[in-house]
Symmetry: C2
Subunit: 344 residues, 2 copies
């Protein structure tokens, strides 16, 4: 504020080093001895030096900015992923420009154009609105998480394995009929694997089953009404039978559990329930709920690794980009809690 700006010249004079040495301190510190690094670091404090990164960006094109495009932060899954991505600052040093699209494709596209104008180095996309073909055309590294990714590198949970784990557990606890409640997931979305996993185990074990794919609404209240209707239907059609229900996420599982508690004052003996995600609600429910845990920390870290690898490649004098998109899957972890741990 009004103070004279400290230059490399000033730092050189103060430390008795050459300007070249000072410049090396900023651009390649490891080329100096630890002792000399410390002398210069101390000088910066003494002189109250303020780095101007904007000038540096113009010089080498490295902004150290990464864009993150998420659909929203209402769903716990997205805020959990975002939390882990932000935490990678300590490891990789990238700063994150975050945008929540809320399904407004036009605003999302405008935002991305702005980010590109600011020379961001890469982008992590969780939102579903823009096709991966378009994302790949921006000419910067992109990694997508749990969405269509034909043209981009991606990191997804092994959803098929999760479906297999959940269904096998219900089968093992002695259920006579199995249900999977989900929305009508498009086949190209990774989470469709949960449906395939459910069907494969049911067929393999030749156990009676029903796949319940329904419009469940976009708000909690709509979810609640749709799920209560489904439960009423199941109770009417299958009285007395031991029922195993695998729900597409922990929010749905919690709604089911609460409704059964309201109807019966507890979880009736003929129900086994499992959700998906290991959201906080699965532990905070009226009784702890079994779930298939996504390894959020591992998903976020793998996505950043994959992005950093591509961004570093582009900084080389002769970059060799990946031959094609790389797709990584992270194994989920089965968590057995009280809603499946009941005497047969």
């Amino acid at each position: 504020m009004g103070k004279q700006k400290v230059t490399f010249d000033d730092i050189a004079k103060y430390t008795n080093f050459s300007k070249t040495t000072i410049s090396r301190y900023f651009n390649n510190p490891d080329s100096l001895t630890i002792k000399n690094q410390e002398i210069i670091a101390q000088a910066l404090i003494d002189l109250d030096y303020k780095e101007n990164k904007v000038a540096k960006i113009l010089a080498n094109g490295k902004t150290e900015f990464v864009g993150i495009i998420i659909p929203n932060l209402y769903l716990h899954y997205y805020s959990a992923i975002l939390n882990q991505l932000l935490a990678s600052y300590e490891t990789f040093g990238y700063k994150f420009l975050v945008f929540a699209g809320n399904n407004n494709e036009a605003v999302e596209r405008r935002y991305i154009q702005e980010l590109l104008a600011y020379n961001i180095e890469g982008m992590i996309v969780l939102s579903h609105t823009i096709p991966s073909k378009e994302l790949a055309s921006y000419g910067i590294p992109v990694v997508t998480i749990e969405r269509e990714s034909n043209y981009t590198c991606s990191v997804d949970t092994d959803n098929y394995m999760g479906g297999v784990q959940a269904t096998s557990l219900l089968y093992k606890t002695g259920c006579e009929i199995l249900f999977h409640l989900n929305v009508d997931v498009p086949v190209f979305v990774p989470s469709y694997g949960r449906i395939r996993g459910f069907l494969d185990i049911c067929r393999e074990q030749q156990i009676p089953h029903e796949l319940l794919l329904r419009e469940l609404g976009d708000t909690y209240e709509e979810n609640r009404q749709a799920i209560q209707k489904t439960v009423d239907e199941i109770e009417r059609k299958h009285p007395g039978k031991r029922k195993g229900i695998f729900l597409a996420n922990d929010t749905y599982a919690n709604i089911l559990l609460n409704y059964l508690f309201q109807l019966h004052g507890g979880l009736p003996d003929d129900y086994r329930i499992i959700g998906f995600d290991n959201s906080p609600i699965s532990s905070e429910a009226v009784i702890p709920t079994s779930t298939v845990g996504q390894q959020i920390d591992k998903i976020a870290f793998t996505a950043m690794e994959l992005l950093v690898e591509q961004m570093n490649e582009r900084k080389k004098r002769r970059p060799t980009p990946f031959a094609g998109p790389i797709h990584k899957v992270i194994t989920p972890v089965l968590l057995e809690r009280e809603t499946t741990r009941r005497e047969k």
Copy 2:
């Protein structure tokens, strides 16, 4: 990618406007007629013009970046606020660099130094680690939310009013003794107002009460153990009495409710419960829980307004900064649900 860069000269030639007109389109579009704006906009598409904002930043110092420093995204309150702040992009056009400090003061300080080096225009701080005196010394506009704010502009919920609303409701439903369960909040933190509100109403109505300020732990499991212990104590000390319990947040209220359901198969007649925040868990609990709702959308929007006002002021030729920090409070909204709506 390898293409020749499109310049203002190219756009001027293509549209038959002067270079000055093109420059005005980018820096002050409203000085042109709508028709001329459209002609130039179309030319940018035809020519595949890519704006370079980095050069623009160097020219006028406006980065359009705002830093957001939050403690974490595990607590729903922070992700809800962040969601609303990000949504303000459509209104104000600012892009957000987001950082979750997780109580690591050194990393947080380093991150902020980096943001300052990138010439961010302002900062919104929810994290508690750095004193407001230090935040104010950075020389850029800062607005804090729900934390110590002696030297910074701030937006907080009217916590005192919230405490009054919650306690009055419990009193009106015919409770014979009232409790407030909280951690030992420092007096200078805004949420201390909840404790003052509780005590003032209890004294005014001359109703027996206990202020339970305790170490409740940092994880859900620790919260659960501490709250169950407190409930056991209350049940032992006050059997049969109609008890009204005001908890510091909805997570605590949910733990209390679940424990009573596990002990008694439902909420016993001699309990009235109210939480704070209107987090999703208050609606998604085994029965919908009464709460004091924070107007998250209003808090976030007011914070951005207050920040934008200061940032705009700094862009004037002769800025007149605020004489001192401005503090705004947002009134909370009482939500009566099933845990207080019981026959006397």
